[in-house]
């Protein structure tokens, strides 16, 4: 099993790295790069919710912190992008730790945890929208200075490969977590927190570790987003869209699996694009929100008919729900 997964990760990484050979158009490259960023955000969510069972509805709080830190460090403090990236990731993890410390110490679970994360994301959004330091409602613009030294790649393929590096890093990290003692403890917390505590698992510490790791990964996605688009406002960085994408992708792909977030992000975004294009052509104009309607339908259908996501469907219904990893 262990060997199989490492080989699979290597194979997927090689296949994805070869994509730009086939896909040469800017539109296609933009799409796969964006899908990569969403995948990373989803990988973060998957650690906390997929393995740890703590359903966050507010991962935008971490995505946005990474994004704003990346942009503001460069714009306000003149920090180089390569230095800003690790700081942004660290800050994301720190925010995750704070949110986790506050909510897990208060023993918030289930609906309560989902609610409090949602509220934290909203507080950040309102603050970022009002504060002049973050550019307020006008947002913040990172100056265009193309050059590898500024992490702004002239070749669109370079940015794709750069994002892919983190996607593959996320795959490896998820696989390592799932094989580790920490991962086993995390799954124990998901399945039955009280039983896990009775068996001597320090559930608070395990959940805290998970949320810090989860937030740092999602903050990485935010930092890369800021660097790709070079523009942010509060609705982009802290808006509910990213919280939804980050949870939808792993659920559709296969919650609590190594490849679920990647598969889900590609399928979801692909479906969204196709639907938007087809309907746009049929009606002669873009219909806003139609791709999200589809996401909502997919979410309900997945929960109802494929609780283990697409991966679960591919593997057949033989193994139990929330079963092992592929």
């Amino acid at each position: 099993m262990n060997q199989v997964s490492w080989t699979a990760i290597l194979g997927v990484a090689a296949a994805l790295a070869a994509m730009p050979i086939v896909m040469t158009s800017n539109v296609a490259l933009n799409f796969v790069t964006f899908a990569g960023i969403i995948t990373i955000a989803a990988q973060g969510w998957n650690i906390l919710a997929g393995y740890g069972g703590q359903f966050s509805f507010g991962h935008a709080a971490f995505f946005g912190t990474g994004a704003y830190a990346m942009a503001l460090l460069q714009v306000r403090f003149g920090v180089n992008a390569w230095v800003a990236l690790p700081i942004a990731i660290g800050l994301g993890g720190l925010v995750g730790g704070l949110v986790g410390l506050l909510s897990f110490r208060a023993r918030l679970r289930g609906s309560y945890f989902a609610l409090v994360t949602l509220a934290f994301a909203e507080v950040f959004r309102i603050l970022a929208n009002a504060w002049t330091f973050t550019g307020g409602a006008a947002g913040v613009l990172v100056p265009l200075q193309v050059g590898t030294a500024n992490m702004q790649f002239a070749d669109k393929r370079m940015l794709y490969w750069f994002v892919l590096l983190f996607v593959v890093g996320g795959l490896c990290l998820t696989h390592m977590v799932s094989r580790s003692r920490f991962g086993a403890q995390l799954v124990a917390v998901r399945e039955n927190e009280d039983a896990a505590r009775a068996l001597g698992v320090d559930t608070l510490a395990v959940k805290l570790k998970a949320i810090v790791l989860s937030a740092a990964i999602t903050a990485t996605a935010g930092s890369l987003y800021a660097q790709k688009f070079l523009y942010l406002d509060a609705t982009i960085a802290y808006g509910p869209w990213i919280s939804v994408d980050a949870l939808l992708a792993p659920i559709v792909g296969g919650i609590g699996t190594v490849f679920g977030p990647l598969l889900g992000a590609v399928v979801l975004l692909g479906f969204g694009e196709v639907t938007k294009t087809i309907l746009g052509n049929l009606t002669g104009g873009a219909i806003p929100g139609i791709d999200l309607v589809l996401y909502g339908v997919l979410l309900i259908l997945t929960v109802a008919y494929a609780p283990r996501g697409i991966l679960g469907l591919l593997q057949g219904r033989s193994s139990a729900r929330h079963g092992g990893n592929p």
Binding site: S103, A106, V116, L118, V123, P240, P307
Partner: protein, 290 residues
């Protein structure tokens, strides 16, 4: 320093708005009390109801206060149907699944409204929209006063319904102990759906009361629902009295923080209360349940 009359007026206005907040929170807290889940589609359902009021008014010139008679039963039916045939079967009785299904519903409703009506903000024009009543030194908006009184009337009716009728008793039985209730011959699925329908009907009534003074766009329900979450958490999940008291408190807090902090930061006051209450007293101020 602000004049005391201005603060007084802000408190009065906050209380009036708080009445409608309480009505919105009532549906949420009732569903939580019985199903023990948070309905994340609550805000989107409110938005849908507000658009329904808008359509009634624009298409056939129906006054919002008359539209209640049609929309409350309609939304009761919709709520019943959605719980019985979508949320119930799709979630397999698992709590985190219910969370996800209601989240999915809210995404669908909100974006279907966006696709249908675009992101324009709309409002309806009623002759009494800007009428005011003089109460002592205060000038109170007539539609808001009506909304306040009507909200408490609905709460009273709902309370009587729960206490006196057989269905009400069944709802309370299921809320307390669903296995026991099922053994006594109560159809739990039916009661769940009825509760959900009542929650949706409360939203339809709230929408009719709100539309004379509020604007609607596909996202406007979200602003209300986070407020409603706060009220429900503040008042104690599942408590009707708590929802009423919480609604009034939050209405006043919002009004005052808007006065002192300005429009854009005004909402922060609510969220901070929300997070503080969740962290310090997740069982609510009354601390009824754990």
């Amino acid at each position: 320093m602000l004049k005391s009359e201005i603060i007084f007026a802000a408190v009065a206005n906050g209380l009036l708005v708080g009445g409608v907040y309480a009505l919105i929170a009532l549906g949420l807290t009732l569903v939580y009390g019985v199903l023990h889940i948070i309905n994340f589609a609550h805000g989107a359902t409110l938005t849908a109801a507000m658009y329904a009021v808008l359509i009634c008014h624009q298409a056939i010139g129906l006054d919002p206060y008359i539209a209640v008679a049609a929309l409350a039963p309609l939304f009761f039916g919709l709520g019943y149907f959605v719980q019985r045939f979508v949320i119930g079967p799709a979630s397999h009785g698992d709590d985190s699944n219910i969370l996800l299904v209601t989240l999915g519903l809210s995404i669908i409703i909100e974006n279907a409204l966006l696709a249908g009506f675009r992101s324009d903000t709309r409002s309806i024009d009623v002759p009494y929209g800007f009428s005011v009543v003089e109460v002592g030194p205060l000038l109170l908006s007539l539609p808001k006063l009506i909304a306040f009184v009507a909200s408490f009337a609905v709460a009273a009716v709902l309370g009587a319904l729960l206490l006196k009728t057989d269905t009400g008793k069944a709802i309370r039985a299921v809320a307390k102990e669903k296995t026991g209730a099922a053994l006594m011959g109560i159809n739990v699925d039916h009661i769940y759906a009825v509760t959900f329908g009542i929650g949706a009907a409360c939203l339809a009534i709230a929408a009719c009361l709100l539309m004379p003074t509020y604007l609607v766009n596909p996202r406007s329900g979200n602003a209300f629902v986070l407020v409603a979450f706060t009220i429900v958490v503040l008042g104690g999940m599942g408590s009707i009295g708590g929802a009423l008291a919480g609604g009034l408190i939050i209405g006043v807090v919002e009004s005052l923080s808007g006065l002192f902090l300005g429009e854009s930061l005004g909402q922060i006051g609510i969220f901070l209360i929300f997070i503080l209450v969740l962290l310090l007293r997740p069982t609510g101020l009354s601390g009824a349940r754990t």
